[in-house]
Each structure stands twice: as structure tokens, then as C-alpha cells.
């Protein structure tokens, strides 16, 4: 591939990165068109009180049905709300479905929580043991698979 031409050049050599012919990367190879944290306007954490767990479920509020309620939402915000309206999804699923880093999804969901368009369930807090009855239900559920 075209990237080969720069191979063998000592790292940091000024010739490699400045030569426009040396690397022709197209489509996905070229990386995202918008850098991930540009979607969050550079924010790496959200205003919400607690860090959103990977398995926290994002559930749309009734206000999310309201058309054009908030014109300041980015396409990614709207996409998250749409995905969750079909079926409430975890932070991890959203990150995977949108092909965005988990950190970015956390910030975007945090915005939506602030706007009261969605709320987020809290999984079992780490300090607490999961309820014994829930564990029994998990075992029964698994056996029934």
C-alpha cells in the first residue's frame, strides 16, 4: 500500500509526514471526518453528578417525543435518542452502535440527561452485593437458555 513508501524512514523524519504523496488513506483508513471529541466540543466529562456506568441503561423521557424541542442538539444526540426510543440501550451498546468512544457517548448522554430528554438507570452500586434473589433469577434464566 501507499503507506509502505514511508516505511523505513526514521521516526520523526520531517520528510515522511510533510510529503503529501506519501500517505493516501481513503474512507475509514483516513480516520474519522470529525474527531471524536469535537462532537463534545472538547469536553471529556459531563456535568452530570456521577460517571455513567457501561451497563447503565439510557431510557428516553416523554419529552424526547416532542418534535424540534431542542434545536441545539447535534446529530449524534438525536441519533442516541432515536436508538434508545426503539429499545433502551446501555452506554456500551450505544458506543458500539454509533462507533464512538465510550467517553464521547458519556458526555453526549450527560447532555441529554441535563436536557431531561433521557434518564439513566443506575446499576447495582459496586459496594453493594447484588441481591441474592436477583442472583437466583439469573441462574434460573441462564438454565432456561
Amino acid at each position: 500500500m501507499s503507506a509502505d513508501s514511508s516505511r523505513g524512514t526514521p521516526p520523526g523524519s520531517p520528510a515522511a509526514p510533510t510529503d503529501p504523496q506519501s500517505s493516501r488513506w481513503y474512507d475509514a483508513d483516513a480516520g474519522p471526518v470529525v474527531r471524536p471529541y469535537a462532537m463534545t466540543r472538547g469536553r471529556t466529562s459531563s456535568a452530570s453528578r456521577h460517571r455513567l456506568d457501561l451497563i447503565a441503561i439510557v431510557v428516553p423521557e416523554p419529552a424526547a417525543d416532542d418534535p424540534g424541542r431542542d434545536q441545539t442538539l447535534s446529530p449524534e444526540h438525536v441519533e442516541i435518542v432515536e436508538l434508545c426510543s426503539n429499545m433502551p440501550q446501555s452506554i456500551a451498546e450505544l458506543a458500539s452502535g454509533l462507533d464512538l468512544p465510550v467517553g464521547v457517548v458519556r458526555v453526549l448522554v450527560g447532555d441529554l440527561v441535563e436536557d431531561e430528554l433521557v434518564h439513566v438507570t443506575r446499576p447495582v452500586p459496586p459496594a453493594e452485593l447484588p441481591d441474592v434473589n436477583i442472583l437466583r433469577e439469573v441462574i434460573n434464566g441462564l438454565r432456561a437458555l
Partner: protein, 201 residues
Amino acid sequence: MAFGRSSRSRRPVEPVTLKILVAGGFGVGKTTLVGAVSEIRPLRTEERLSEAGRPVDDTAGVESKTTTTVAMDFGRITLREDLVLYLFGTPGQDRFWFLWDELAQGALGAVVLADTRRLEDCFAAVDYFEQRAIPFTVAVNCFEGADRFPTETVQAALDLDPEVPVLICDARDRSSVRDVLVAVVEHALARADRFREPATT
């Protein structure tokens, strides 16, 4: 219309979510195991580490590559409409262990997948879960061509507590993986029961 829906007839169910981690060395079958029981095709969630990986990653020849992608496999098992189990495959490379801490938070338990031909690959995972008192099960993935050992031998080789279940499994087989997951939850339940007993009597 902003979100393509004008009304909602009923509130969506908010399920209780739980997670089990799947750890083990590189190429031991974590992705296969998750895929064998997950109802969604194995999804990968990715963390881009633009700064953290830079001093470590050798980007010679690809200097314009400024991000490192860490992938975590994950799968979902909907046990009931209101009870969902997530499986997370932990990143294999040691330097991404800081991601484990987040994954391990609130985890119900863990599976340490082992290959008897390179048992040492799972030492780190065993140590990790022992230190954090996360209930785990060792599942020996039976690879073709690998010698079969009795589970007692594996237990001794890993110097495990006698209570830690060791199972032989086939990571490709749905029912085999299901048995491993049941063993993890049963182990967690036994531990939870023991924790509670002194308090209630």
C-alpha cells in the same frame, strides 16, 4: 419530526442490568465464548487513546496514526424483559489494565478462560480477581491438540482456593458456556450467602 415518533403507548421497561467479565490471555477464546451465548452479534466497544498510548506504541512508519484503539468485546443475554446480563471481554494487553478497573466495578463475577498449553497467561487475571474479591470461575477451554488435565491439576497449578470452581469448557458451544456462567453466578451466590449469615444470626 425530531425523533420520528409522535407518541409512546407505554413506558419502556427499565431492566436490571448485571455484568460478568471474561478474562484470559490473548487468543484463548474470549471473543468466541462471548459470541456463543450472546443474542447480539459480538459487538465491540472501542476506546480511542490518543495520548495514553503514544509513548508506548511504536508508530514508526505510520506517524500520522495518533490514536490507539482498545477494543472490548461484549455481548448481551436478555434473561427476562427486566433482567439483562452483559458479558465483557477484558482487553488482553497488560497496559490497558486501567480499563479493567472500570469494567470490574459492580461486576457480578468473572470467567477466567485458560488454555492448558499456556496456563501462565491467565495468572494475571486470577490475581486481579482474587485481590478485588470478585467471584470468578476458571474455565479451561479444551483446544484440539491440547492435553486434557483433570480440573484438580489445574486448580493446583493455579494455586486456587478450593472453593473456586474449575470447569472444562468448549468456548464455541452455547450450552457449555452457559454452564460456565451458571457456575460463576452460583459461586457468587454462595459467597453472598456466606457474607450475610453472620449478620443475620
